[in-house]
C-alpha cells in the first residue's frame, strides 16, 4: 500500500523506506544516554522542596536549617529569582517558587544544591515552612463561581462556537453527559537536567525537553539574562507526549548553578515527575446531537468543562481544540459549543498527545452510537453518511481544503476481517480477561465490538507564527543537517537524514547538535508538526545548497544552468558531458544554507468561534474488539484495527510505531489510566498504582489502511502522525465494552467495578 519514493539508484535510506533509527539499537541495549545519565566533574545535586498541600498560605519560611546541613551549597526560594518571578507557555502565571500561597500539591517552594542527592533531599526536608491550610477548590464546575484562587481568576479560557442556526431542530435527538479522567503521559525518563555555569556570566543547560528555544526564552526572562547567555542543549529524551512542553525545574536548576558556580544536576523521582509536569485535562462534557430522520446531522450542542488545575499552561489552546473538534469529523450545519477551562487546586494540566481532541472524541463518538441506536441505523453507516469531505464547512466556518479521507478510513476499518473468537485450544492465560491471572471463565465472557473516528489539527493554529529553522552543510561530499528540533523518540532524526539523502543521493548524512547556540528555533516537537515543519525546513535548506552547488558548477564550466542537474549523488548534464561526484562538483568549496520554513498563516477565531484557525487536519478510525468478563468486570482488549490518514508514508516502520504507540495510549485511558485525586492529592503517583498497559495488556494493532492522499502544501504530501492515532482508540474501546455489557459507561477509564458492580446485585454485598 505504501509507495516508495525514489532516492537514487542503489541508495538505501531515502524517503519512503523503513529506515531504522540510529538510536534504536542503543536504546534496546540500554546504552543510550538519557538526560538522567548526564555528569560533570565537581557536580552538585539539586532537590526541590514541594508543597504538601493543594491550597495553603505560607505564613513563614525558614531556610536556615537547610543551610546548616553539611554538604549543602545553596538554598534558594522566592526572592532569589533575579528576573521575572513566574513562567508559563501562554501567560506567565506560574511562580518559579511559591511565595505567599501554594496552589497545588507539589508546587516548588525552595531548591537545594548539595554534594549528594540524599543530602539535598534531607536539607530540603529540614526547611521550616508554616502553612495555613485552606480548603482546596477541586471541583471544576464549582470553580467557575468560586472566589478566585489566583489574581487572574478561575476561568482560564472560554470559547464559544456558534455556527449556522442555533435554533435548528432535528427529528431525532440524543443527549448525554460524559467524563474523562486525568491521564499521565507516563514517559519512562523522569525530568532530569544538568546546568553548568559559564565563564561569561551565562549558563548552559543540558536537558530533555520538547522545545529548546521556548524554554530558553522563559528561563532567560526569569534569570534576567539576555537570550544569548542562556544556552540550551538537547540531551537524551526519555519520552515526552506533551509533558515536557512546560517548564518543570529548568529555572531553579540554572539559578542553583549560577549561585554556586558549579554544575548542578537534578533527576526527579517518579512521584515528583507525576507532580512536576502537566497532565491531560480531565473533562466533563454534556452533549445533544440532533439529526433528521435519514440520519443527517442537523445540530450538535456541547458544553465542555476542562479542569486546568492550578496554572494556565497551554489550557487555552487545549480548550480551543476541544471546542473546534467538538462535533467530530462530521458535516454539522448548526452547532453551539460552550467550552471553559477552569482553574482549580488540582495539579496543572496542559499538553498531552491529542491535545483536547481525545476527550471530545470519547463523548461525540458515544453520542454517534446513541444516535445510530435511536435512528435504528448501523453506526458505521451513520458515520459514513455524515463524514466530512474536502470542500465541506466545519463548525468553525473553515472550509476543509486539504485531504479529508474520512469515509476512506471508516471504510477501511469496517471492511477489515474480525479476529477469531477464542477457541478452547487458546491458552486461557493469555486469551481471557484477567490475563495470566486466569480469573475469567469462558462462559461468562462476552465479546464486544466498538467503532470510533476522530480528528485533529496539525501544527500550531489560530494565528500563531509557527516556523522552524534548519541548516544544511555540504563539505567534501558529506552532508550535515543541523536543527534545534527535538527528537523525543518519534524518529525525527531518521527522517531528517532521509530527506537529505533523497536530495543529495548520498548515504552519508550526519546531524549537528540540537542547541539554541547557533541556530534558530525549530518550534515545538508537538502538535504532530515536526515531519511537516522541520521536514520542510530541512528540505528547503538542502535544496538551497543543491542549487548553489549546481550553479557553481555551471559557472565554473561555463555551461547554462538549465543543462545541469543533481541526480543520484552526481551533478550531470543532459548531454552526458558533465558527470561529477559531489566532491568533484564542489571543487573544494563548502556550501552552507540555513532555511526558515513557515506553514501558511492561520487566523484567530472570532467571538463566535468562527475563522480559518487551522492549517491542516488528520483523520483516523479505530475498531476495537474486547472480551469482557461480566462477573469480574475485567476487560481484555483483543484487537484494535485502525486506518489513518497519513498523506504520505515517508518511513512506514516509524509510522507504524506511532500508530501502535498512540493506539496503546488510548487503550490505557479507556481501561486503566487515571490519576486518582483526593481533594487535590494524587493518590497514585507511582507506576505500581498508576497503571499503564503492559505488553500482555496491549492488543495487537492491525493496520487496515494507511490512507495516502498527499496533502497539498505539505512537504512530500506527508501529514503528521504523532497524535492522530491516539484520538479515537479510547472511544472505540469504550464502545466495544458497551457493546459487550449493554451498560452506559459514560466515563473513562472504565474500571472493573463499573462493569461488575453495575451488573451484579451491588446492594447484596454491602450488608
Amino acid at each position: 500500500m505504501t509507495t516508495v519514493l525514489t532516492t537514487g539508484p542503489g541508495l538505501r535510506g531515502g524517503l519512503g523506506e523503513s529506515v531504522r533509527r540510529p538510536d534504536g539499537g542503543p536504546k534496546a541495549r540500554g546504552e543510550f544516554a538519557f538526560s538522567s545519565d548526564l555528569e560533570a566533574e565537581d557536580m552538585l545535586w539539586a532537590h526541590l522542596l514541594r508543597s504538601p498541600h493543594p491550597s495553603a498560605a505560607i505564613s513563614s519560611l525558614d531556610l536556615s536549617p537547610a543551610f546548616a546541613v553539611p554538604g549543602v551549597a545553596a538554598v534558594l526560594a522566592a526572592g532569589d529569582v533575579p528576573g521575572r518571578q513566574s513562567f508559563g507557555l501562554d501567560y506567565p502565571d506560574q511562580p518559579v517558587f511559591a511565595g505567599k500561597v501554594v496552589r497545588h500539591v507539589g508546587e516548588p517552594i525552595a531548591a537545594v544544591a548539595a554534594d549528594h542527592p540524599i543530602t539535598a533531599r534531607r536539607a530540603a526536608e529540614a526547611i521550616a515552612v508554616t502553612y495555613e491550610v485552606t480548603e482546596p477548590l477541586t471541583d471544576p464546575e464549582a470553580a467557575m463561581e468560586a472566589p478566585p484562587i489566583h489574581e487572574r481568576g478561575n476561568v482560564l479560557f472560554h470559547q464559544d462556537i456558534v455556527h449556522g442556526d442555533p435554533g435548528a431542530t432535528g427529528e431525532v435527538s440524543v443527549e448525554g453527559s460524559y467524563a474523562t479522567a486525568m491521564q499521565d503521559q507516563a514517559f519512562l525518563g523522569p525530568e532530569s537536567a544538568l546546568a553548568v555555569p559559564a565563564g561569561d556570566g551565562g549558563v548552559d543547560l543540558y536537558l530533555a525537553t520538547q522545545w529548546l528555544h521556548v524554554d530558553r526564552d522563559q528561563i532567560a526572562a526569569c534569570l534576567g539574562l539576555p537570550l544569548d547567555l542562556v544556552r540550551l542543549h538537547l540531551s537524551g529524551v526519555g519520552g515526552a507526549f506533551g509533558a515536557r512542553e512546560d517548564m518543570s525545574m529548568q529555572v531553579q536548576l540554572c539559578l542553583l548553578a549560577m549561585r554556586t558556580g558549579r554544575p548542578v544536576k537534578i533527576v526527579f523521582s517518579r512521584e515528583e515527575s507525576f507532580l512536576g509536569h502537566v497532565h491531560r485535562h480531565p473533562a466533563r462534557m454534556w452533549y445533544r446531537h440532533s439529526a433528521d430522520a435519514d440520519g443527517n446531522l442537523v445540530k450538535v450542542e456541547a458544553k465542555l468543562i476542562l479542569d486546568g488545575g492550578a496554572y494556565l499552561s497551554s489550557s487555552p489552546a487545549v480548550l480551543q481544540n476541544a471546542a473546534c473538534f467538538a462535533a467530530g469529523p462530521y458535516r454539522v450545519p448548526n452547532a453551539v459549543v460552550d467550552a471553559t477551562a477552569v482553574r482549580t487546586n488540582n495539579p496543572p494540566c496542559g499538553a498531552m498527545r491529542g491535545f483536547g481532541a481525545v476527550q471530545v472524541c470519547f463523548a461525540y463518538e458515544t453520542q454517534m452510537d446513541k444516535l445510530a441506536a435511536a435512528l435504528r441505523m448501523d453506526p458505521v453507516e451513520l458515520r459514513l453518511r455524515n463524514a466530512l469531505r474536502t470542500g465541506d464547512t466545519m463548525i468553525t466556518g473553515q472550509v476543509l481544503s486539504g485531504a479529508a479521507p474520512v469515509a476512506e478510513v471508516i471504510r477501511a476499518v469496517a471492511a477489515a476481517p474480525l479476529p477469531a473468537e477464542p477457541g478452547p485450544s487458546d491458552a486461557p492465560e493469555i486469551a481471557l480477561p484477567g490475563g495470566a491471572g486466569r480469573t475469567a471463565e469462558r462462559d461468562r465472557v462476552r465479546r464486544g465490538i466498538g467503532f470510533a473516528v476522530g480528528f485533529k489539527n496539525l501544527m500550531y493554529s489560530a494565528g500563531f507564527d509557527d516556523f522552524t529553522t534548519a541548516r544544511c552543510r555540504l563539505e567534501e561530499g558529506r552532508v550535515t543537517i543541523t536543527s534545534a528540533a527535538v527528537e523525543v523518540g518519534q524518529g525525527l532524526v531518521t527522517l531528517m537524514q532521509q530527506i537529505a539523502r533523497h536530495i543529495f543521493g548520498v548515504a552519508d548524512v550526519s546531524l549537528g547538535e540540537a542547541t539554541t547556540a547557533g541556530i534558530g528555533s525549530a518550534g515545538s516537537t508537538s502538535a504532530s508538526r515536526q515531519t511537516w515543519m522541520t521536514g520542510g525546513a530541512v528540505e528547503a535548506a538542502c535544496r538551497a545548497v543543491a542549487e548553489r552547488l549546481v550553479s557553481s558548477v555551471a559557472q565554473r564550466l561555463e555551461r547554462p544552468l538549465a543543462s545541469l542537474r543533481l541526480d543520484g549523488g552526481r551533478v550531470c548534464s543532459d548531454d552526458g558531458a558533465v558527470d561529477l561526484s559531489l566532491v568533484g562538483a564542489a571543487s573544494g568549496q563548502v556550501f552552507e544554507e540555513t532555511a526558515v520554513y513557515r506553514h501558511p498563516p492561520t487566523e484567530e477565531l472570532d467571538e463566535k468561534g468562527q475563522g480559518n484557525a487551522h492549517v491542516s487536519f488528520a483523520f483516523g478510525a479505530h475498531r476495537a474488539v474486547v472480551d469482557v468478563d461480566l462477573d469480574l468486570g475485567l476487560v481484555r482488549v483483543v484487537d484494535v484495527t485502525t486506518a489513518q490518514d497519513v498523506g504520505r508514508a515517508l518511513n512506514p516502520l516509524q509510522l507504524i510505531g506511532q500508530i501502535e504507540g498512540g493506539t496503546a495510549q488510548g487503550v490505557g485511558l479507556a481501561v486503566m489510566e487515571e490519576i486518582v485525586l483526593d481533594r487535590g492529592t494524587v493518590r497514585n503517583p507511582s507506576f505500581t498504582d498508576y497503571i499503564i498497559p503492559t505488553a500482555l495488556d496491549s492488543p495487537p494493532v492491525t493496520i487496515a489502511g494507511l490512507i495516502e492522499e498527499p496533502e497539498p502544501g505539505a512537504p512530500h504530501g506527508a501529514k503528521g502522525a504523532g497524535e492522530p492515532p491516539a484520538i479515537s482508540s479510547t472511544a472505540a474501546v469504550a464502545a466495544a465494552i458497551r457493546d459487550a455489557t449493554g451498560l452506559e459507561l459514560a466515563r473513562v477509564p472504565i474500571r472493573p467495578q463499573d462493569i461488575a458492580l453495575a451488573l451484579a446485585a451491588f446492594e447484596e454485598d454491602r450488608q
Binding site: 538522567s36 514541594r50 504538601p52 498541600h53 500539591v105 542527592p117 540524599i118 526536608e125 523522569p190 532530569s192 533527576v267 526527579f268 523521582s269 512521584e271 493469555i430 484477567g434 490475563g435 495470566a436 491471572g437 486466569r438 480469573t439 471463565e441 462477573d631 469480574l632 468486570g633 475485567l634 486503566m672 492529592t681 493518590r683 497514585n684 503517583p685 507511582s686 505500581t688 498504582d689 497503571i691 498497559p693 503492559t694 505488553a695 500482555l696 495488556d697 474500571r751 472493573p752 467495578q753 461488575a756 458492580l757 451484579a760 451491588f762 454485598d765 454491602r766
Partner: protein, 340 residues
C-alpha cells in the same frame, strides 16, 4: 530520584552464621534475600535498617529435596523462577507453582525468593508511598505515625496480606523451618501470620526461614486464582487458593485460603465442608452450582476489604467469591482428569 539510604551489608557463610549476626545486631538488622520487596521499601523510607544480612548467595538455602514422607523440602532461597520452571513441581503442586508464576514480572521472579515471598510486607495505598507523600498526607500507624488513615477508628493497622504463595502453601498444609541462634522449629505456614497489618509476622524478627516443606500430594490437587487488573506485575486484589483431595470420583477433603482481603491470609476451610462427599463430576457438570455458590459465599464471608487498594472494596469482595468458585472448579477438573 530515590536513592537507597546508607546501610551495611553483611554476607554470612552459612545460615547458622546469619542467625548469629541477626542475634548480634538485634533490631538494627534485617534479612534480605532477593531484595525485591525490601530495597524499594528502603528507598521510600518504609523500612529502615542499618544492617542487611544477605541470604541470597547461600547455597544451602537453594536445595530442593524429597522428604521421607513423600513430600518436598524447598530451600527458602529458591527463586520464584526456579519454582515456575520446575515441571515435576507443577504436576504435584499446581496451585503453588501457579501462585509463584503470578508474582509480579519475570525479572522480579528471577530475583525474588520463596522465603522472601512468604514474608512480603503487607500493603496499603496510604503506606506504599514515598516518605514525602506520607509526610504530606500524614504518617500512619504502620510507619512513623499513630493513626490509621483508612479506618481511623481502628486500633490496629489493616494493611493487606499480599503474598501470592502464602495462601497456596497454606492450602497445601505446608510448614516452614525457622532457624535462629536460639534453635530451630517447624511450624505450619499459617502460624507465620498475625491479623495485624503492622506486626504481620508471628515469627521473631531474627528467625530465618530455612525451608518450606510441602507434604505429600497423593490424591490432592490444588489451584490458585488471582484477581488483578493487568496481565502482569500487579499484586493480588483478591486471591484464592484451593486444595481438594479425592482418591476416586468423590471429594474427601477440601481446603480454601483467601488472601488480599485481610492482614493475613485467611484459612476458610470450614466453608469447604459441603464439598466433601460431592462427586467431582457433579460439581463440574453444573449439578451442584448452588452448593458451590454457597461454599463461595461462606468462604468469602470473613473477607473484609477496605478502601486501601486499587479498585472498589465491594468489588474485591465479590471477586473473592468468584475466585473461590473458579479455584474449586480448577482443582476438581485436575482431579477428575487424573481419575479418568
Amino acid at each position: 530520584m530515590l536513592r537507597l539510604p546508607r546501610f551495611r551489608y553483611l554476607r554470612p557463610q552459612s545460615v547458622a552464621e546469619a542467625a548469629d549476626l541477626m542475634a548480634e545486631h538485634g533490631e538494627q538488622a534485617m534479612l534480605v534475600a532477593g531484595g525485591t520487596d525490601l530495597l524499594p521499601k528502603m528507598k521510600r523510607g518504609q523500612m529502615e535498617a542499618e544492617i542487611l544480612v544477605g541470604l541470597g548467595h547461600l547455597a544451602e538455602l537453594r536445595q530442593l529435596e524429597r522428604s521421607d514422607d513423600g513430600g518436598l523440602r524447598i530451600g527458602a532461597g529458591v527463586t520464584l523462577s526456579q519454582i515456575v520452571h520446575d515441571a515435576a513441581l507443577a504436576r504435584l503442586y499446581p496451585g503453588y507453582v501457579r501462585a509463584a508464576a503470578l508474582v509480579s514480572s519475570p525479572a522480579l521472579r528471577n530475583a525474588g525468593t520463596i522465603g522472601g515471598n512468604l514474608c512480603v510486607d503487607t500493603r496499603c495505598n496510604f503506606y506504599d508511598q514515598s516518605y514525602e507523600w506520607r509526610m504530606a498526607v500524614g504518617f500512619c500507624m504502620k510507619k512513623d505515625g499513630d493513626i490509621c488513615r483508612v479506618a481511623p477508628a481502628s486500633k490496629r493497622c489493616r494493611a493487606i496480606a499480599s503474598s501470592d504463595t502464602a495462601p497456596a502453601a497454606m492450602a497445601l498444609g505446608a510448614t516452614v523451618t525457622l532457624v535462629s541462634s536460639a534453635g530451630r522449629r517447624e511450624v505450619p505456614v499459617s502460624a507465620l501470620y498475625e491479623d495485624d497489618g503492622q506486626f504481620y509476622l508471628a515469627k521473631a524478627a531474627d528467625e530465618i526461614i530455612e525451608s518450606i516443606q510441602l507434604p505429600a500430594a497423593t490424591d490432592w490437587s490444588s489451584s490458585y486464582v488471582k484477581v488483578r487488573r493487568r496481565g502482569s506485575i500487579d499484586f493480588p486484589l483478591a486471591g484464592v487458593a484451593v486444595a481438594l483431595k479425592a482418591a476416586g470420583p468423590v471429594i474427601e477433603e477440601g481446603r480454601i485460603v483467601i488472601t488480599a482481603v485481610a492482614s493475613r491470609p485467611l484459612d476458610v476451610s470450614e466453608a469447604a465442608e459441603p464439598l466433601v462427599g460431592c462427586t467431582l463430576a457433579s460439581l463440574l457438570e453444573g449439578q451442584r452450582d448452588e452448593l458451590l455458590t454457597g461454599v463461595a459465599a461462606s468462604a468469602a464471608r470473613p473477607a473484609k476489604p477496605l478502601d486501601n487498594a486499587d479498585l472498589h472494596y465491594v468489588w474485591r469482595k465479590q471477586m473473592t467469591r468468584r475466585g473461590v468458585e473458579q479455584a474449586v472448579r480448577e482443582a476438581a477438573t485436575a482431579l477428575l482428569a487424573r481419575s479418568a
